[in-house]
């Protein structure tokens, strides 16, 4: 089925335009729960160890607002350029389920903390801006665990550790037009929320849950078709696959003259298809009404201004700056800005490169005026290829630590020819693994490149003397013979010679031209160290 889906998708898209809205629930990065003081660090904890009368919905318990959670939603609202009303309030959403201890969820109905925002991101067909209708705050439910009882029968257990954790719901306008846009929106939103410290937004850990409302309308028409809500998409890939599946399914149904029903459907990653979870007939009347246990929330304009002013550089702006000011390619800018770890390492390495400290580890005698900014493209290359490569090669979830000052030293040393690119890569890997300094690793491994004219000259002289045939070839016009001779120099110096310097010294000797050997990209050679 999946093999045929793309082509069927294309035929559906010839006749129908998908209209998609995305709802995202995110757990917020708070220390305590939304309406009580219980800790949110319940991951991996024994069931029902992070709860109290409030989040258990015991008789007489009352909610109090977590200011930090409100602040995080306001921050998210500011980051999506949303507006915050002067007064918002809380509402009760009423329904019965064992994971909802009070029989209602405290949420926000008609006055969300943020409204009318937008998010811009790139797709394979160019940049897209999606309108965001609202971002509001609510509480999470408990977790139901279906298990086998001691008598072998089915039992349902409730773990209230998650009950009452703060949850932000972000709802887009029905602006999304493709499965790819939906995936990219979710990815960009995750990046944004992480970069402003609002949510860890890990989909696999349920910290970010994406739902999509999908409908089709004939190309060129305005009215919306019957929409289907798709849930249970547990990765960005499944968001894209599920929506593609729905577009194809709905298109086929419409072509067959079927009436679509306003269902809620689940996505099965294994089967690669959606299935009916709930039909519209079962839809709830949530009987929203203002929460009488909480007064309306007045957002102090000064507080809001402070939150806006405190926003860090957002990913979209960062990508623009990387390209415009640092000369990174669009691809590199996207990769560096698209990963919080990469961004942090890149920024910190560039910073460290402006300091003398980035020089000293490998070159204690270099004068201060020799410290020039690192080449951003080189740093980006180290970060995107080597750092991300090391990180992705490690066990899932295992963090690797790279000290930006050490990376700066490595980048500079390679750039200046003090060590080779391949050696630099080994130094970085060992540093990431052991935390040892670049200088110590270089010393221990004997990686110092020989760039000194005297030392190289001695090796070159010996090689010329030992390889008369190659010398003759060169003098006969075979320029590539230099390569062989350089190889011999590298061999005799155990790979530590600066290849460029060795080549220059060979040509100098054979051509008789008095040309100084200069290492790397033209840095002063006076202080280069001996191996």
């Amino acid at each position: 089925m999946s093999a045929t889906a793309p082509s069927r998708l294309e035929t559906v898209l010839e006749r129908y335009e998908p209209v998609i809205g995305i709802e995202v629930h995110c757990q917020l990065r708070t220390v305590s729960k939304m309406f009580c003081g219980c800790s949110t660090a319940y991951d991996g904890a024994a069931p029902n160890t992070h709860c109290c009368p409030v989040c258990l919905g015991l008789p007489g318990a009352l909610p109090t607002i977590n200011r930090r959670a409100v602040e995080l939603v306001l921050r998210a609202g500011a980051a999506i350029e949303g507006t915050t009303p002067p007064v918002t309030r809380w509402d009760r959403k009423n329904y019965f389920y064992p994971d909802l201890p009070k029989g209602y969820q405290i949420s926000q109905f008609d006055l969300p903390l943020a409204a009318d925002g937008r998010l811009t991101f790139d797709t394979s067909l160019g940049p897209v801006t999606i309108g965001i209708r609202r971002a509001h705050l609510e509480e999470d439910t408990a977790k139901l665990i279906h298990a086998e009882g001691t008598d072998g029968g089915r039992v349902s257990l409730v773990d209230f550790n998650r009950s009452g954790a703060p949850l932000m719901e972000i709802v887009t306008e029905p602006d999304v037009r493709s499965a790819e846009q939906a995936r990219r929106y979710a990815e960009e939103l995750q990046l944004l929320l992480r970069s402003i410290g609002v949510s860890d937004a890990d989909m696999e850990r349920g910290q970010m849950r994406v739902e999509a409302n999908v409908s089709l309308r004939p190309v060129g028409t305005e009215p919306f078709g019957t929409r289907v809500e798709v849930k249970n998409m547990n990765s960005f890939r499944s968001v894209e696959r599920a929506i593609e599946f729905e577009i194809v399914r709905q298109g086929a149904a419409l072509d067959a003259g079927e009436r679509l029903t306003q269902d809620t459907r689940g996505w099965s990653d294994d089967r690669g298809e959606t299935y009916v979870m709930r039909s519209k007939e079962d839809s709830h009347d949530y009987r929203y009404f203002p929460e009488p246990d909480l007064p309306p929330l007045r957002v102090d304009p000064a507080w809001l201004a402070e939150i806006r002013a405190g926003l860090p550089e957002l990913p979209a702006a960062r990508r623009v700056r990387y390209q415009a000011e640092l000369g990174l390619s669009a691809y590199d800018a996207g990769v560096v800005a698209g990963d919080a770890g990469a961004t942090a390492l890149f920024e910190a390495t560039m910073d460290a490169g402006r300091s003398l400290d980035s020089v000293r580890p490998l070159d204690a005698v270099r004068p201060l005026d020799a410290v020039r900014p690192l080449d951003a493209k080189q740093v980006a290359n180290w970060v995107t290829v080597d750092y991300l490569g090391l990180r992705n090669a490690g066990a899932t979830g295992s963090a690797i630590t790279v000290d930006p000052a050490q990376l700066a030293a490595i980048v500079r040393a390679v750039g200046e020819g003090a060590v080779t690119r391949a050696q630099g890569r080994q130094v970085l890997a060992e540093h990431a693994e052991t935390g040892a300094s670049a200088a110590a690793i270089v010393d221990a491994r004997g990686f110092r490149q020989i760039s000194d004219a005297g030392a190289i000259g001695a090796a070159v002289d010996a090689v010329i003397a030992a390889n008369p045939a190659a010398v003759a070839d060169y003098r006969a016009g075979k320029a590539q013979a230099v390569g062989f001779l350089v190889g011999q120099v590298m061999k005799s110096t155990k790979g530590q010679a600066n290849a460029a310097a060795a080549g220059a010294a060979i040509r100098e000797r054979l051509d008789g031209a008095p040309e100084a050997a200069t290492p790397g990209d033209g840095a002063p050679s006076g202080g280069a160290v001996e191996g």
Partner: protein, 528 residues
């Protein structure tokens, strides 16, 4: 020796400080009275003799330590230290029951203290037990308790009012000098009136609701019952004030004046020049003539003492009942959703989620609670919300504006009947919910407006107590206390004040039928 149970809380406090009596003696004497009469009154759902005596011993130790330390340490003790008290059975006390008068909370043990419980423990008050109430505070007679009705100490075939009927009856019957009730539409003031005692519903936000089983969140307030104003003020002082755990509790300072209200002659003198409004809408058609007479006599007595009384109008009063019976049930329909049998209380059914809900809630709630859940659910339903709930909120604003206009005109307080009739017989209003709802017609507008309201005894009609309601501006409890103290001073020698509840001797008789038996007999038409 004087009967310790006849002393006010502050008088008991005086004896405790002077060392003439111990908290243990006070507790034991009051426990004896409660245990002796509960058969006939059913005012208590639990009398915790052992726990109370332990608390009393602890209070005695505190008082002894303070006495040893000196007069300043004794003064620093709260007036209620060592004094017996009763709590309505919807106040959470760690480790104890809190049934809210419902079967659905049978067996539930609160794992935490309500805010006011903590405050009372801090003050050193001795909690003797928990009192009977209409299920989830929904009712005006205590007949809607799942644990049988409470009898009125003035007439054992009559109700004590409700929903805080047990708390009112326990104070009227001298089982405790003071008790805690809650008032959502009149549930403190109406039983106070029907039992001939003082009851106060504070300004909304004055007392934390944390740990109080909710009926209607925007209306519920905790308040004191007492046999005089000073005791009521001392108890309110102990429990009032901002609590971070209740976002609707207000950061308004609690006046220390409540611990020491003016002396009687001073209070009487302070009535002079007080501007009081007499809302004409509170004298309802069908009001009992004896009740109206007592209220008008009380108003005249205040005027004679120098108060300036003017008839005023609260034009939206007639919409109060209808509005209340949308707002309160709507909030209750959500507040009571947590009683699902999942985490506490009995769980009935065969294991299927829906079947469990239906069985647990179907059998756990009584008919009045179900009626209100249905009313509230309906009022909030899609398509009806605007016509009912939203409209009711708008009318509520108008009701509040009626009062605000009077405060703006400079009235110090309003004086009105608390109820239009005296205590009624068991069963009299059970068949007609609307007749029962009308019992609160004069009290519920005060909840809708969030104001402080007080009922104080003002005489008897046909041998049964009549209540005078005093209504103040937000946070004006002090003014109500002064007014009530003044009225108590000018009527101190009134013959009716010397009359004790007339059924107490009967209540001592172990052969008396229980209130449940009495109510059943009345329902069967066996007793006239």
């Amino acid at each position: 020796m004087t009967d310790l149970t006849r002393l006010t809380a502050l008088q008991q406090a005086g004896l405790l400080r002077s060392g003439e009596v111990s908290s243990r003696e006070l507790a034991a004497t009051h426990l004896d009275a409660a245990q002796r009469q509960n058969h006939a009154l059913n005012a208590w759902l639990v009398i915790d003799r052992r726990g109370a005596l332990e608390q009393a011993d602890a209070a005695d130790a505190r008082i002894a330590a303070a006495r040893a330390e000196g007069p300043a340490a004794l003064d620093a003790l709260h007036p209620l230290a060592g004094v017996p008290i009763a709590l309505k059975d919807l106040v959470s006390v760690r480790g104890g029951q809190a049934t809210a008068g419902s079967k659905i909370l049978e067996g539930y043990r609160a794992p935490y203290d309500a805010h006011i419980t903590g405050r009372l423990k801090d003050a050193g008050a001795v909690i003797l037990g928990k009192t009977n109430m209409d299920e989830f505070a929904m009712g005006s007679s205590t007949e809607h308790s799942a644990y049988g009705p409470t009898a009125n100490p003035w007439a054992l075939d009559r109700v004590p009012g409700g929903s805080s009927g047990g708390s009112a009856a326990s104070v009227a019957a001298y089982h405790v000098p003071v008790s805690i009730g809650t008032d959502t539409g009149g549930s403190i003031r109406q039983p106070a009136a029907l039992c001939g005692i003082v009851g106060l519903k504070p300004t909304y936000g004055r007392v934390s609701r944390y740990g109080i089983i909710a009926f209607a969140s925007s209306l519920d307030q905790v308040g004191p019952f007492a046999r005089d104003t000073r005791d009521a003020a001392a108890l309110l002082h102990a429990v009032a004030g901002r609590d971070e755990r209740d976002s609707t509790s207000a950061p308004i300072p609690v006046p220390d004046a409540w611990r020491a209200l003016p002396a009687p002659d001073q209070a009487a003198a302070s009535l002079k020049g007080r501007r009081l409004g007499l809302p004409r809408e509170y004298f309802l058609d069908g009001m009992e003539p004896g009740v109206e007479a007592r209220v008008r006599e009380a108003v005249r007595a205040l005027e004679d003492a120098g108060a300036i009384v003017e008839e005023v109008s609260l034009p939206h009063t007639e919409y109060g009942l209808a509005t209340y019976y949308i707002v309160a049930p709507a909030e209750a329909s959500a507040n009571l959703a947590r009683y699902d049998g999942v985490r506490f209380g009995p769980r009935l059914g065969d294991g299927d989620v829906l079947a469990n809900y239906l069985a647990t809630r179907g059998q756990g709630f009584g008919p009045e609670v179900k009626r209100r859940i249905m009313l509230g659910t309906y009022a909030l339903s899609a398509g009806y919300y605007d016509a009912f709930y939203l409209k009711a909120q708008k009318v509520r604003t108008l009701i509040k504006a009626d009062f605000d206009a009077l405060w703006a005109q400079g009235f110090d307080a309003l004086v009105a009947p608390t109820t239009s009739g005296v205590a009624f017989r068991f069963g009299e209003k059970m068949a007609d919910p609307v007749a029962m709802y009308l019992s609160d017609a004069c009290t519920l507008p005060v909840n809708m407006a969030g104001l402080p309201g007080m009922s104080i005894p003002c005489g008897l009609s046909d041998g049964l107590p009549v209540g005078l309601q005093l209504i103040g501006a937000p946070w004006a409890e002090t003014g109500l206390f002064e007014l009530a103290c003044g009225y108590e001073a000018i009527t101190a020698d009134a013959p009716w004040r010397a009359i004790e509840p007339t059924a107490l001797a009967q209540a001592d008789d172990p052969a008396m039928p229980t209130p449940r038996q009495r109510a059943a007999a009345l329902a069967a038409g066996l007793v006239g």
